[in-house]
Amino acid sequence: MNKNWSLSQEDFDALLDWLDSDREQAGIKYEQIRSSLIKIFTGRGCIDAEELADETINRVTRRIREIQSDFTGDPARYFYGVAKLVYLEYLRRKPPQTPPPPPDSARAELEYRCLEGCIQRLSEEDRDLLLREYGAKGRTQADRRKALAEELGISLNALRIRVYRIRLTLKECIEKCIQGSPL
């Protein structure tokens, strides 16, 4: 690996051009590839998945001129090939995996306060759905959802996506709330 190499704007632009001739679409594809690589490295048990994903992208970018002229097919497949090599190297120098410490009680309390506030900001419909999804006791998630989907008259998959979306909104709201609150 060339340790002296650094990412230049020209190389990065070339990478985006290779991904898609439309710059906006190229940006979207770039983000999709990076997020997918992170999931792949995490799935393989790598604690620093983000660093490995970035390393994979850097290696592809470094060779972008050759790749552009030699490689045909979906660029994502090329990234995957490089990711496998990066993973093998990672295994050889695998650092000790130390789990991050749990949050202290003040932080946990703040997170809960933020959650309460964020739930209040949801629409009444979403709040009700969330409480039914998580509040019903004595049944598994699958049973709860089946009953709830029938009651709401929507497909199970639509309900799954709706719950996921509400969770995502809440997470983002909590994140903002924590950032704006002194601990």
């Binding site: 906006e24 792949i40 995957y80 789990p99 509040g135």
Partner: protein
């Protein structure tokens, strides 16, 4: 592949139990099929919920703790799942009527049935009273929430150019948050269902599916409501797709807008 089998495969991937060849095939699909990546995110959240609710088998629990929970991000997601469960547990009485205790049924068999019936009548009247009062309170709360949450409606035209376009529609979001209803104008309404996705700097913020067309004068729009909370000042893009009968998406157009203070 059937959705249920695919979900099982995703669970196995997340728990680290998928075999070598299957892992390789699945990883390639994560990279090349955006739908697989999105579904994986949903399955990941569901797995966390099942762990928190104690729905996983002993073996799955062990795999979850030793393999799934390796990154700080996932541990943070687990904390969120636990918080949500804690909140729901403390509000459980507000959404569900408690089950009838077995003891109260045995009253019917008691010697003094008359008193039992009097008791049941009193309980029914009491419950009806509580439900009535709670209904009044809920209606009042709902009305005040509706008044308190501002709603902004913005019509967006298709084909708007990217983030630097000075012609992008300006949107002012109330400091109180509230909701922003984006009306995505359509030139050719040919689908029954639509799906839209909100992006900022290429990062997906919100997805909505099963959206239906609404008529607006002589035009047709697809309504897409987003939470004002997530709209800080900056440029946003919305990708609109039509959903085919097969369930696959077909890209229709991009829309853009700029949130200003």
């Amino acid at each position: 592949m059937k959705p249920e089998i695919e979900r099982q495969e995703m669970r196995a991937f997340l728990l680290g139990t998928l075999d070598g060849d299957q892992t390789t095939q699945f990883e390639e699909r994560i990279l090349t099929e955006p739908g697989v990546y999105e579904e994986l995110l949903v399955v990941e959240e569901e797995l966390i919920d099942q762990y928190v609710a104690g729905d996983l088998s002993a073996l799955e629990q062990q795999q979850f703790e030793s393999h799934f929970l390796i990154t700080a991000e996932r541990q943070k997601n687990l904390r969120f799942g636990k918080l949500l469960q804690k909140y729901a547990n403390s509000h459980i009485g507000l959404t569900e009527a408690p089950p009838v205790p077995v003891q109260s049924l045995s009253l019917l068999r008691a010697r003094s049935r008359r008193w039992a019936w009097v008791g049941i009548f009193a309980a029914v009247v009491g419950c009806a009273g509580i439900i009535f009062v709670r209904g009044l309170v809920n209606r009042r709360e709902a009305a005040s929430v509706e008044q308190a949450i501002p709603r902004v409606v913005v019509t967006l035209l298709p084909g708007s150019t990217g983030t630097e376009g000075s012609s992008a529609q300006r949107v002012i979001v109330s400091p109180k948050g509230g909701e922003v209803k984006l009306e995505l104008e359509l030139t050719n309404p040919t689908f029954r269902n639509y799906k839209s996705e909100l992006f900022r700097e290429n990062k997906s913020l919100q997805i909505a599916d099963e959206l239906r067309i609404e008529a607006k004068g002589e035009q047709h729009v697809v309504p897409f409501t987003v939470t004002g909370e997530m709209l800080s000042p900056g440029d946003y893009q919305v990708k609109l797709s039509g959903v085919l009968d097969s369930g696959a998406d077909e890209f229709i157009d991009n829309y853009s807008f700029r949130v200003i203070e």
